[in-house]
Symmetry: D2
Subunit: 342 residues, 4 copies
Amino acid sequence: MVVRVAVAGASGYAGGEVLRLLLSHPEVEIGALTGNSNAGQLLGSLQPHLAPLAGRTLAATTPEVLAGHDVVFLALPHGQSAAVAAELGEDVLVIDMGADHRLKDSADWDAFYGAPHAGTWPYGLPELPGGRAALEGSKRIAVPGCFPTAVTLALFPAYAAQLAEPEAVIVAATGTSGAGKALKPHLLGSEVMGSVSPYGVGGGHRHTPEMVQNLSPIAGQKVSVSFTPTLVPMSRGILATCSAKALPGTTADAVRAAYEKAYADEPFVHLLPEGQWPATSSVHGSNAVRIQVAYDGSAQRIIAISAIDNLTKGTAGGAVQSMNIALGLPEELGLSTIGVAP
Amino acid sequence: MVVRVAVAGASGYAGGEVLRLLLSHPEVEIGALTGNSNAGQLLGSLQPHLAPLAGRTLAATTPEVLAGHDVVFLALPHGQSAAVAAELGEDVLVIDMGADHRLKDSADWDAFYGAPHAGTWPYGLPELPGGRAALEGSKRIAVPGCFPTAVTLALFPAYAAQLAEPEAVIVAATGTSGAGKALKPHLLGSEVMGSVSPYGVGGGHRHTPEMVQNLSPIAGQKVSVSFTPTLVPMSRGILATCSAKALPGTTADAVRAAYEKAYADEPFVHLLPEGQWPATSSVHGSNAVRIQVAYDGSAQRIIAISAIDNLTKGTAGGAVQSMNIALGLPEELGLSTIGVAP
Amino acid sequence: MVVRVAVAGASGYAGGEVLRLLLSHPEVEIGALTGNSNAGQLLGSLQPHLAPLAGRTLAATTPEVLAGHDVVFLALPHGQSAAVAAELGEDVLVIDMGADHRLKDSADWDAFYGAPHAGTWPYGLPELPGGRAALEGSKRIAVPGCFPTAVTLALFPAYAAQLAEPEAVIVAATGTSGAGKALKPHLLGSEVMGSVSPYGVGGGHRHTPEMVQNLSPIAGQKVSVSFTPTLVPMSRGILATCSAKALPGTTADAVRAAYEKAYADEPFVHLLPEGQWPATSSVHGSNAVRIQVAYDGSAQRIIAISAIDNLTKGTAGGAVQSMNIALGLPEELGLSTIGVAP
Amino acid sequence: MVVRVAVAGASGYAGGEVLRLLLSHPEVEIGALTGNSNAGQLLGSLQPHLAPLAGRTLAATTPEVLAGHDVVFLALPHGQSAAVAAELGEDVLVIDMGADHRLKDSADWDAFYGAPHAGTWPYGLPELPGGRAALEGSKRIAVPGCFPTAVTLALFPAYAAQLAEPEAVIVAATGTSGAGKALKPHLLGSEVMGSVSPYGVGGGHRHTPEMVQNLSPIAGQKVSVSFTPTLVPMSRGILATCSAKALPGTTADAVRAAYEKAYADEPFVHLLPEGQWPATSSVHGSNAVRIQVAYDGSAQRIIAISAIDNLTKGTAGGAVQSMNIALGLPEELGLSTIGVAP
């Protein structure tokens, strides 16, 4: 089987990461690569780490250029995916790495993004209950946000096992690539090195409603989410520290058992041995999720911490994993659980 | 007035930082400098940034060497301060930058440190209600831990104004100097650069009971603290993200007013203009505390975030500030609110 | 004496650093602060580390705003200083932290900058032979480039003592603040963290002719300079590794003696004890220059390495030092040789 | 073909990196893993990024444990390889990633290492003239040092084409993993972040004679090397800035042609398009070498700069590449030219 793939938005970080992974995917042939302001430039000058594609020239993002592929990855700014997808045939697998097709509730979309809502596509988080079934054979996939990936996987076993109150408190550290290549002063190296800073505090981050959307059905009730992201001095990686008050009668053993059950057969999610906590370096460049959980008897809270690479499992790796499922390929093809460390 | 000062433990990060500050203090004369394994070495090879002291040789930490000073700073490993302090006269101001004399409850000490409890000294956090009065004229001062400094100042106004439930959830990022110069594999540059990792999760960090001790009397009831520290790739700085569920009827205006009232006249604590959040780089090398607070109406939580330099306000700067108060000097002498950025 | 100072270009890194230093200068009163695109904004949002100036608003850079000060610091993009300076009285001390007035040879200026040459002002490197005399009482000062400061101080003693061939090879590492706050993709944190890269290779960097201009008169002949700057993952600091072939008969003792003689009485330049090499962290935020030199008998080369903070001694600290000399103030006023480390 | 491989020294950075690569090698089965002080521990706690091997326990490094493998990689401290290799059969391919078998001149070994010289093995740098032939079928391979790999590949085309004087000047920046996991104060994260520092200056670095050994035969005369390594704040990567005075009559075109000829058919060495300079991030985790060269007409020097990952092409990747050649496997098996960036 040869899957012919195009990437729209190949000059950004998400586009570059999906190409990095696809170059190692045994069933994929890389077709058209497009950009907007960068159209006409060599990929070698924009993504110098992708040596085998250095001689490729970016095309403009047009229906003609994207036609004739089996799969099209969209790595476009929020609000631009729907128009491009509309021009692609229904037999093409379109995988949106942007936010446009994640949220089910148009009111959430309006409140947090403000553009017309593009509709909802099958959600690319296979590890959720029913997650794989929703993706098999699908021709449209919405890739989850990086923070919702880390947070949902850290918390859902506690809610699935009915161990936690429906009020989650999350503080997540992210590397700067999560903000993309946008030229903003606070993303300059001089600003981020040697500094940690929060943003989107107090319920303002766009990923918050996506977390609520993921966790609430599992909990069987509306879960409120207090989410604070912080920018830390590294290029890649998310460490999500998540907690919720334990329901009365919860024990450390019950917590452990819930997580062991949830992840016993997951190829990419690793519950660490008791006492070992995840570091983001251990998943650098990999599609793995490392999770540890503890029960703090004094504060009566369940603390679950997950580490992912925001560009891999948090974006492009999750996208390739979902592609594999949608196409009926082995789920792990082209993906690794081995981090590049130190 | 000339204050003659000795520093025991001058080769470590806390000792080096107190010397950095004292070198700019107009009333201080730096006397004996001691070390243990480093005794006999030149300070210029151990602390090359302290140029004016490069030719000084470290002495052994003995009563004879420390005698004859007005002030002695102890920057020693936990458990070693009491024995040294016992040999110093009652007329000498002894300032312990270690943990030995912070906790009031011996059971807490036993549970988290395990050595015999050395007793409790006046607590060097002047910004607490009654904080300055406890220090004026005192001859013994226990410098707060770096995390308790950041967390207590972020949260106490909410508890003082009776706005929050007594269950605080805190996730704090710290630079690596907080762990000292100890030679441990996880503190190697190769390990910490490009990585974020948690430690002491689930109630295990030694600073947790100190936070409970500080906040509970202000709240008028026992405050439980869920505290998760994370190690981030920078040398200095703490960003403490603290939250608690708001009591019914709380408004954003009430929250803002509580913090404005608490910090209206504090020289080192700056409540930022609404909408601006603190970055640790802005307090690098300074004794300032930058705080912002928000009310998340959706999650019904108060979120307060503070940024400090763990070595300055979090350790040595707080120590010098307390020394000034104890000696009747102007509180800001030798201390700055200006960060070294970018 | 109260010196009233204005800073044009207060929102950039050079402008921010000169303000950081002036805030601690006992004879200075900070007057007008100007910006261009940032005019009208609060300094607290642009330079949050300068707490005491947080409430100041940036004015536009006009002659009216800058009038009425004793000293005006220009922290403007290359090519803009001459026009602003022309509007300021001849009795005002104007200190240009840009490149406009450094080069004596208009052909060099044309080749490397391309705008009309603004003329040459007294050169603000007091440590050069005759350097202080050129600044005393001067009303116009050109602050040296950051690399030329580090390189000239590392190499001139070898040339002054006639020990080295007139072909210098220099590779310098710089922190990203040397590139300013310009929004360029290669300066994003995601790009610079975890990466080292060269630029301006092969004679193309604008600081090259300035090094030639400094060293040649001391050597008594034209010194050729091969200069390669590299960008490293830190915000501040320059480490300049400089070497030249030793003339026949050179000995390690002669090399050491030349440097000891050159820097015996310099307040800011520290020749380290033999065997100790400088690290940029030791001068972080300070005006100190740390230098070490060695003679490699096998390659017959003299290797001199200097560490400076590019924003302090390399820009704003050197500017304040020169201001002090020009005004007849003690040279060290408002400046420190103590680094903020670790 | 299934190649059964053992790794002695699996807990260090070189050992971890060779395992990372071997896990993706289609013809390799990973056998015994050994350590010294870490024997008995789980690899999952020592190398948490190597998820598929997390459950493996380190054995002691004994002949019995290492017996029965086709290939044994030695990632041991200098001076320990010879004794271990002596116990392995002559039919086993032994690949020494330490320094013991690199130098041909015992006097060099004595001067720089001081232990008895273990003898010389075929040198694992296939890109050198005759390099592959020396490795085919070999049962003993000495992996080059990381700096000699970067420097030799940057400079040898200039010497092969007789364009440069035999006096090379090299300044190289390295990430901290090059120093290994040794617990030394200057390798602590607090010390290396935000700082650049030189070491082994003036001819003292152990890799210097290896560079001389590589370049001299190609130049047809003894090449002197002035080598200054610097430690920069990143975990991985080497940027080697190399230069030599051009012989009279040298032109930029001739320089370019020499490098194009040398690397036209090399799978891992990429001469970049003119004007593009290499960044270490572009080779992060990859076996690629990125090189650019320029002729500085003003200083009459050839400047060649190479970027490698010190752990991959500089150590473990070079080792696997040589293993492939020795075993008659395709040279690129298990190796990638794609970096993990940003």
